[in-house]
Structures are given as structure tokens and as C-alpha cells.
Point group: C2
Chain length 146, copies 2
DNA sequence: TTGAATGCAAATAATTTGCACGGAT
DNA sequence: ATCCGTGCAAATTATTTGCATTCAA
């Protein structure tokens, strides 16, 4: 069940929704969370899909460039990826500085969205940047580690 | 001119303000910007200070754990570091998705600070996290790449 | 049949580690 | 004398690349 929307995006990019690519997307749908390349590869193995690690890397990159996935970064020395949910205007991360656990936070306050939009406009004017997206990270101690 | 405050911190951590450590801090004072380990190493060479790359890595890590430096991350596959001082209250980054150029934005709007503090409180309550700091990244096209 | 996609192994790049030495306390 | 900090080189980890093969339009 690879979504029609995705098929369309593949078509727009002149890329094919190959078995490996679909399998990778399935993994993300099932996990509903951020994963590293190695983790994706692991999940695929568990599902008896044989996809080489190089292909995983190549496709995570492709899917990010196509805007289906988004790269996120928790400072643990490897890239993580997550599904871009179109419904979600933004996306925050809470990272535990002790155990490294990272949880996603995507509830949305109107006020918050409005504020960040305003801030983006301001920055565009001030720095000549054309801003496309943003990410917010909060660092601290999770419940267990306090 | 390694600041008294830093000496104190070294002392609190039972660590010594060695020549390499001071030289590294000097580099950051002069640059007033984020640097990768390799860049720090390069600057040290230019200043005729001979510090091995392993020592640079070890000390960037140490200085981060001591709270003098902060790790920042631009998704280019390597860690960057910056002085915590320069960005006390908060610190934003504008990253060009085309050329990778990353500029720092540390001007501060009262409104902005207040807003993020409020948001932190909210998240602490909702997720049981004890938040210590945050980082905000904006992604888009810089002036040249538009 | 032709270019796109993949697997595998080798190559790179960034960072970490083991170990012996030198210097400060 | 002891232990911290360091340099060097080797090891590890994450990611990328070259190339021959396979696959799909």
C-alpha cells in the first residue's frame, strides 16, 4: 500500500517506485518515527526484504530530495530520517542529553505556527534568505534520566 | 587571554587549562562562529600551534561537556562547534539547502525569547522533559542561490 | 534495447581508541 | 611518583562510489 500521492511524486521526478523504495516507505509508515539508515536496513531484513545497505542510503537520499522524507539530526553521529507529514506544519524534537533518547513532538499550537511564520518573514528580509522550512530541537533530561 | 570564568570551569571539572585547550578556545574567540574539528585543526596550524587532530577532537568533546562549547549540526556529515557565550539566550541558524552555507543569527527579539520560554514550559509539562536548551534551524536558499 | 536501479566490495570521510611518552602537581 | 594530557597510528563507524549485472518501460 504505497500511496497514490507518492507514486505521483516518483513520476514527477522521473523515478520509479521500485520494490526497495516501496519497502523503505513501508518501514517508515509502520514505525511512525525517525530511523537511521542502519535501522531501516535492519527492519528490512526482519521483513525478509533483501535490500543492500548502499541502496538504502541511495534511496534515503533520493526520498529526501523528493520531499517524502526529511533528514533530522540528533548529534549522535548519524543521519536520521522521518516521513514528512503534509498535515503537519512543523515538527519539534525533544532530545535527552543523557541517554540520547529522542522523541518527536508534532502537536501544533496555532500561536506557535503563526509566530514562526512571522519570524521567517523577518529573517528573510534581514538576511536575504528564502526560507523553506525549519526544525526546532529542545535538549534536556527525559523523565527517566532526571 | 583565556577568561577567568573558563579557568574556573576547568577547575570545577578537575581538568587543566592546558596549552592546547586554551589555543582552541582562542580560535573560537577569534572566529566568533561555528567550526568543525578539521577547521579548528587548520586554524591551529596557521597559528603555528601543533596540536594533533585527536587532541582537537578530545578537547572539543570535553569543552562541550563542560558547557563552554556547544555542538551544532548542519547536516553536512560533520559536527560543528561554537562558543556558548556568543549565543547565550538563543541562537538560530540559517542553512542554505543548495550550497550548504550556514550563517548564524543571534539577534534577539524579546518576543521571541519569551515565546520559546513559554513553549519550553509547555513541553516540560506535557512530556515530562526537563528542558535545558534549544536550537532552531531555518532551511532555504541564500541570496546567491535563489 | 536502453537507461535506471541494485548488490557487492572497495574507497572515503569523520571520529575514536590504544598505547607509550612527557610534563605538571 | 603519579596521573593527566598528548601525539601518532591503527581501528571503527557512517556513508559513498565503481562497476558489472539485472530489471522494467
Amino acid at each position: 500500500m504505497v500511496k497514490r500521492k507518492w507514486k505521483e511524486i516518483f513520476h514527477n521526478f522521473d523515478k520509479r517506485p521500485t520494490p526497495s523504495r516501496c519497502a523503505i516507505l513501508e518501514v517508515f509508515e509502520e514505525e511512525k518515527s525517525h530511523l537511521s539508515a542502519e535501522e531501516v536496513h535492519e527492519r528490512l531484513k526482519q521483513k525478509r526484504k533483501k535490500v543492500g545497505i548502499a541502496t538504502v542510503y541511495r534511496n534515503l537520499d533520493l526520498l529526501s530530495r523528493m520531499g517524502i522524507l526529511r533528514r533530522v539530526n540528533f548529534g549522535d553521529g548519524r543521519e536520521h530520517y522521518e516521513l514528512v507529514q503534509t498535515s503537519e506544519t512543523h515538527h519539534h524534537h525533544l532530545v535527552c542529553v543523557n541517554c540520547g533518547k529522542a522523541i518527536d513532538y508534532s502537536e501544533l499550537m496555532d500561536e506557535e505556527r503563526e509566530f514562526l511564520n512571522r519570524l521567517e518573514k523577518e529573517l528573510e528580509k534581514k538576511h536575504g534568505f528564502q526560507i523553506q522550512s525549519h526544525q526546532v530541537y529542545f535538549y534536556g533530561l527525559c523523565e527517566k534520566c532526571q
